[in-house]
Assembly symmetry: C2
Homo-oligomer: 379 residues x 2
């Protein structure tokens, strides 16, 4: 059993897009990759079989905040970790719970020690410290564990952003200390990724990248983006971070985004993405397809018996028609939520495989520029 | 393309249980069979792939009342029938809408002409006559079409039950007239099954069986049971109907029931069953298993990492643990509803396959008597 290994296979010569290869103890991941979000140990409305066979996911996420509250670490430890609990035998990444605590919970208080928060389920009080969050993620059994960070809101003033960044850096030191003092829990290697913060300030982002790079982790993440800032600012800050993070380590842009966001950020040098958008928007009748965006609720699809998307290689997207899915969504049938979620995730995974293909083939930028326009078309 | 054919393969010599074989233009059905209910063109929370691969369903139901209101006959006709609309290429049976109109709709009025009712969706007024219901089911494209009947409530007084039965018989004559005057809609043969009524009165049930048998339909149904009467009364009346219906035609007991109800009624000579129980109860955390009944919500399953049911041959039932399903149900995850529904349906289909096996093997009654006790055990 060995630490995560990243091989940079090819870098585009017209952009900073990269094709790479990650090896973990639970399997291999071709990059760029999109990771479906499995909040409480289930990618919403999608079965593990569908994730493998239809979506073709090679790694999924779990949310530490949600898993800590339910089913709780006692159940997960008894199960032998999340992989054994939910039957997903490919890699899992867990976030640190920081973002969730700051954005979801009602009353929370941040101190040097950590974050005090209330459960959204029963209002009970809990403390997340860097040490606690390392222990929890060890117990969940993620292949990739994220550092505990503070994600400042957008916009934040410089003073707050700077103070917050330094707190995140001090917490990072404590995360690594605890992580290095504790053993892998279930016989396979767990890896800790630090997170760049610094809000919208280029000097802070640069300083944060330097601090993060000094940790020589097996991979690095960019946090605090896609929190409300305009797309151009996202791209500028993402590009800056990519330029200041190690070349031979995977770069993970957290919580991004639309299909066109993902393509633009691949061009800037990002290797890993996650976002709830394909599943959440799918449950709200919005489909991303190879020809553009569909609101399947719309009456125009009532008699359209063509497949959801015959431009991608997913059986579900080719099997079910627009008219049938519209009917299911109108009738509030659970199967509608599943089909929309499976399709959107399969589309995201298809998109990053296509990106990889074009990076390796050498025509990534022209393909990307065409796709960014086409994918935003309202059908 | 040919009318439904039924071959009686074996009749048990210790009971009236039968093993048979039905051929339709959309495929073959080994009996006894259980038919999952796909109300608005989707078996709730279960995909067509799961129905085939996990559940092993050879025929499903559609509800005429629901499909008529949404997506409506115009969409279904344009699609080329329900099979093409929902991508289910095996046989489909539709109920007549009568039971739904009488039990679901708020205000409805029954006259000689038919039933006037209000949509549960928008309150709009509609009329179901025997002729209209034949036309609607023709357009839905069911392989097996059910006669339009009145299902009297339990209990009904003799006078009402008698009057209602005669109305159902007059409606039946009109159903057959319309059915015989209209062609198959999509190139395959559609079959009309008449329905025995007569409430809880043995002389009425007998008279109804005689009237129904005189139609010489390709199959016959028993309606108006499992509407609140005690199990013993259900069995008595079901047995009486089986004894008075043609031997060489399949007998379909509508809307029944629990796993033990199904085994007892197989012993009385029923060949076909449908019920919402496996899906509806599944969505409410109740699992039927080969060892008994489980309330998966219960705390006792919190740390039970054993499979849902390793006594049956369904992958889903063997893949997911009780603790994981409990967690999903507690966290209100959609996947929990899917897993519980797939498991319960797979269990029902496993049960009728086992029944068939034991009928052919000659030890049905002893097996059934053991199972009826075991399946009711609260685990």
């Amino acid at each position: 059993m060995a630490a995560l290994q990243f091989t940079l296979q090819h870098t585009d010569n017209q952009s900073k897009a990269r094709a790479g290869h990650i090896v973990t103890d639970h399997g291999e991941i071709a990059t760029p990759i999109f990771m479906p979000v499995g909040t409480v140990g289930s990618v919403k409305a999608v079965s593990q079989q569908q994730l493998k066979e239809e979506v073709n996911a090679s790694i999924i996420l779990g949310n530490t905040y949600h898993l800590y509250l339910r089913p709780g670490t006692r159940v997960l430890e008894k199960a032998g970790g999340l992989h054994r609990f939910n039957g997903w035998d490919r890699p899992i990444l867990t976030d640190s719970g920081g973002y969730q605590v700051f954005s979801l919970a009602g009353t929370r208080k941040i101190t040097e020690e950590g974050a005090l928060f209330q459960s959204h389920i029963d209002g009970s009080k809990h403390m997340f410290s860097p040490e606690a969050v390392m222990d929890i993620q060890r117990t969940i059994g993620a292949d990739i564990i994220m550092a505990f960070d503070e994600c400042p809101p957008y916009p934040s003033d410089y003073k707050y952003a700077e103070k917050s960044m330094h707190l995140t850096h001090r917490w990072l030191d404590r995360c690594f200390k605890r992580f290095n003092e504790t053993p892998d829990k279930y016989g396979y290697t767990q890896n800790l990724f630090p997170i760049v913060q610094g809000s919208t300030y280029t000097d802070l982002r640069k300083a944060s990248c330097e601090h993060i790079a000094s940790k020589e982790a097996t991979g690095n993440a960019i946090g605090g983006l896609s929190v409300g800032e305009p797309d151009n600012m996202l791209y500028d800050l993402c590009g800056l971070c990519c330029d200041n993070l190690p070349v031979h380590k995977p770069r993970y842009l957290m919580g991004v985004g639309t299909p066109w966001n993902i393509l633009e950020c691949i061009a800037l040098g990002v290797d890993m993405f996650d976002c709830v958008m394909p599943t959440r928007n799918g449950r709200n009748a919005m489909l991303f397809t190879s020809q553009g965006v569909i609101n399947i609720d719309n009456k125009k699809w009532e008699h359209d018996f063509s497949p959801l998307d015959d431009g991608i290689d997913c059986l579900v997207s080719n099997y079910y028609s627009k008219a049938y899915l519209r009917h299911l969504i109108k009738a509030k049938e659970i199967l509608g939520l599943t089909i929309a979620s499976v399709h959107n995730l399969a589309f995201y995974l298809w998109l990053v495989r296509q990106a990889r293909h074009h990076i390796l083939q050498g025509d990534f930028v022209s393909w990307k520029n065409e796709m960014v326009v086409r994918l935003q078309t309202r059908l």
